[in-house]
Symmetry: C3
Subunit: 416 residues, 3 copies
């Protein structure tokens, strides 16, 4: 994340390419290039934006606003400009946050050609009535939209989609934390043999998912579960935004993991505002894709400001988020449906060494309880997650019980 | 309401006719007359009751109870009587309210031929042991049951039923407030072009709705939504009693309006006791008819007493009730079902001027959010009310968003 | 219960037979004998266990542990032993409750051949380093599993199952209270003419229900409702554990009775741990069998200890439990489905004497309300329990209203 932080990313351009190259050190990411002007549903792939330098100089030639110090200073996708103007004219192109006078806001103008600078409110207020030299050395020209894709083949063609946006410049929680988590999740899963195939997308927000969906429309039906990863490194509690379906397996799997995490958490209903789940959950696709974050976008003061920096995101929170993603994948991978081979009355667990010898104790232990639940509900209808939900026991306990019962031929898995 | 207040109404008779005539100044009400003896389902249209005068005179000839001072003094539908009797005998025919010693109760005896007087408890206790002349100059003879009907033709034959009872004498909230609201609602809608046809019924309670249903059985299936109007002028919070179905569109529309009213309110499940919704919701009809009141019948101390007078009902509360009825009708009229013409990913709202130019702000505004919700859920299944409910946004915001999207060809209405 | 208390019961043996003989004084119980070795699903009927005496003597020949003082002292199903040993060796076979130093625990070892003694913790701690003579004069030999069955023929073959376990020795709430309640319920119902047939089972826990289900598999589908009776004599609140189905008629009937009991109560979801409902609700049978207790097994400190004695169970609590079982049976017996013969509008109840004469009162009474509810919901779909649940009225009020309406030909019962 430290390497990625200084790079000026946008929805297109060399900053995006450079970022993918850095991620490519960890996983064999494939880089895709889609030409400007390509029609993607109702949208068109925009011109490619690149920027070398930008500043505002006062009459004495001092850089009072300097892109070299923070790439947030330039409104993302600003068209080139190089001329002198009064403070009054300049101010119409300046953005600041009066409530947080030391922070630089993050602003974009992807689809209307204009320019602007973002500054701390203190800087804005210190600007004197002067003539200023305004320079943005950018280019907005036909080129490409770039994105990264990494596909892990599993035992079945059904896919789990992990999608993150990579189009924000120096913003750490909103952008880099998701990119980092997705990368290391991909690296981790790449070493395992999985049931599902996994597809990781590193894309520019909105236009990236629209482009991918448009180019891969025939493959979309393979996606059985999906998560949009973002804002996973701050100190806030884990928050899950459900898919549009609301009761998809991914929705239930994440809810189960959070319920059993022993930590505070929040489950939110779907809404059509947010990250790329907006596109995955558009009515024409309606994919089972939710978003597992910590504090959601827009809910923390540092959101979309220079305060979302390398201090705002902490390793412990990233690690905790990572373990929750893994736990969710563990549920998806193991959420089979089984048949009790001995459905009339309980089988005699004791003679198989699965049950304690001395009777009469006050409580059964959790392991024996998990065995009984799995036996009782494995009528061919219930998945292990169904059983975990109804029993109130953790999925891992239910899965361990199912494995033990399979070993004793008391349970057989039903192939989907 | 002041003009209607002094008239002695009952379930039949000239008081009812005179009341309809007064309402007829505002709307072209049609007056229906149904002869005594007409069989209406399990019931029979009763004899017509009229009354000119009634009193109890003491031995000195003073009117100690006088119908001219309040028509509540006579038990409604009392048979004629004119003779002298002891206080003891008289008392068996007197009704009072010990808990509210200054109030006169309201009592009826429609279906058993008897007579009686209602008096304040103070009056009752002041009666001395004397010989009293008791006179009720009433008639109970073959005649007619009268009711008023006003039909507004809309673009479709499907109907909204607005029904109120008009059979109570000097009672203001329970009777007159509903008659007034229904009349002015009819007058208001009469000036508009509506999608639904509207049927307003001004009827005697119970026997009136039974009679109307019996005479119009073949038309009943046109009623798609209905409200029984009563008790809409007191200071209490708005209260909605659901139809027997419980999840009819009218139930959801009223609940939505009350939820977004910014005021306290109450939603009650259906029960078979109440006003004429009892008949509309009988199992053989099971019409989607609820009742939107303020404090429901029987829940305020003034209910069915002389204290339910012109002071108990206030213009501000009537106006508030009126606006809620209009809001409900607005939902019903506009609750279309639409299809997103661009269901795969979001359409690009920005290029159509429907979305703000500068990105990166913390929140989207409500209007943009409404656009996204309408697009996301307009898959041909959801109505605008469904979308309003799921989004938590006001129906009016959802409807405005739908209108804007239709104008930009991003949405088309599905004809029912 | 006093007669049954001293007998040393187990899952097989003469104590069980003797107990059934005592119950046979009240009802004509049939005693069944199933030979050792009989295969019952995944289980095998075990050897029969009988015991005459058992003790631990110290070097001076004093019985420091004596089966004659409490049959709980011997681990149930202990194999015979008769030899001397050190305290150290003995201690490996002793069970006590450090938290309740005066109580003797209850332990069993049905399916592993071993032996042991249960003692109060005080006794355990008082044992000195000595040589002890350990004697258990028991036998574990081929014989029979015994259970009692009582079948009451009703008007239909559909059955209500009442099942209790009788395999615990001197334990009063967990065992004897259920046996007593079931016996007197059987005696009571035996004097009545019932709609349902009733089957009472007095069985050893687990192996008894498995054996009965195995031997009667073809009859099982007749069981339409069932209750497992146990722990019905303590001071705790009534607790109902639902059947696996969760919404069976028995589940709703018990919930209704408890809701209207005017007492505190608890409803628990099904779980596969507990008494014989574990077998009745195994997935291959999935019978609608719940369990109505007071404090459930394992939730009171006296559970499975010598403190669950004749003082712990009180007549008033037994009587209260009995009346709740009767109320549940009353619901099941009378839960018919009716058709309103006059479904369009209300019938005129007044002319039939079912409704008060004078109108205008503030409230209707509960009886009239029950009449209206039954009429309104008797559309052929709703049972009387459905109507009781929706109206919030007691089942008895609804049933009385239905009876009155049937008498006036306003309602007819639909034959199932």
């Amino acid at each position: 994340m430290s390497d990625l932080y200084p790079i000026c990313r946008s929805i297109t351009g060399d900053g995006f390419r450079e970022s993918l190259r850095i991620l490519g050190r960890e996983i064999p990411l494939e880089m895709r290039e889609v030409p400007t002007g390509t029609r993607v549903f109702d949208w068109t792939v925009p011109k490619e934006w690149n920027i070398r330098d930008a500043y505002v100089k006062d009459a004495k030639g001092r850089r009072v606003i300097d892109f070299q110090r923070s790439n947030l200073h330039v409104v993302n996708y600003s068209v080139p400009i190089n001329r002198k103007m009064s403070l009054g004219e300049l101010k119409e192109h300046l953005f600041s946050l009066p409530d947080h006078p030391d922070w630089i806001p993050y602003r974009t103008s992807y689809y209307k050609e204009t320019w602007g600078f973002c500054v701390s409110h203190r800087t804005l207020q210190a600007l004197e009535d002067d003539e200023y030299e305004v320079c943005i050395d950018s280019s907005l020209e036909d080129g490409h939209l770039t994105y990264g894709e990494y596909y892990l083949k599993g035992r079945v063609d059904d896919e789990v989609l992990i999608s993150c946006h990579c189009c924000h410049p120096s913003l750490c929680n909103d952008n880099l934390s998701g990119m980092a988590l997705a990368t290391f999740l991909a690296k981790f899963l790449g070493r395992l043999s999985t049931r599902y195939s996994y597809r990781f997308l590193f894309i520019p927000g909105t236009i990236g998912s629209i482009t991918w969906l448009s180019l891969n429309e025939s493959e979309v039906s393979k996606i059985k579960h999906g998560l949009v990863v973002a804002c996973v490194g701050d100190a806030g509690k884990s928050t899950y935004k459900k898919s549009r379906r609301g009761d998809a397996e991914i929705d239930r799997a994440v809810a189960h993991v959070l319920q059993h995490s022993g930590q505070d958490y929040e489950i939110q209903e779907f809404s059509p505002y947010g990250y790329d789940e907006r596109q995955y959950c558009s009515p024409g696709f309606n994919l089972p894709v939710g978003s597992l974050t910590r504090t959601p976008h827009g809910r923390y003061p540092e959101y979309h400001t220079s305060a979302d920096d390398l201090n705002f995101v902490q390793p412990a929170y990233l690690a905790d988020s990572f373990s929750k993603y893994l736990a969710v994948i563990n549920v998806l991978e193991n959420n089979g449906r089984f048949l009790n081979t001995n459905p009339k009355c309980e089988p005699q667990l004791g003679k198989r060494g699965l049950y304690s010898t001395f009777g009469g104790r006050k409580d059964t232990d959790l392991y024996e309880l998990a065995l009984l639940w799995v036996l009782n509900l494995s009528d061919g209808q219930s998945t292990l997650l169904d059983i975990a939900e109804r029993s109130g026991l953790a999925f891992s306990a239910i899965r361990d019980a199912a494995n033990a019962l399979v070993q004793h031929d008391l349970l057989v898995e039903i192939q989907a």
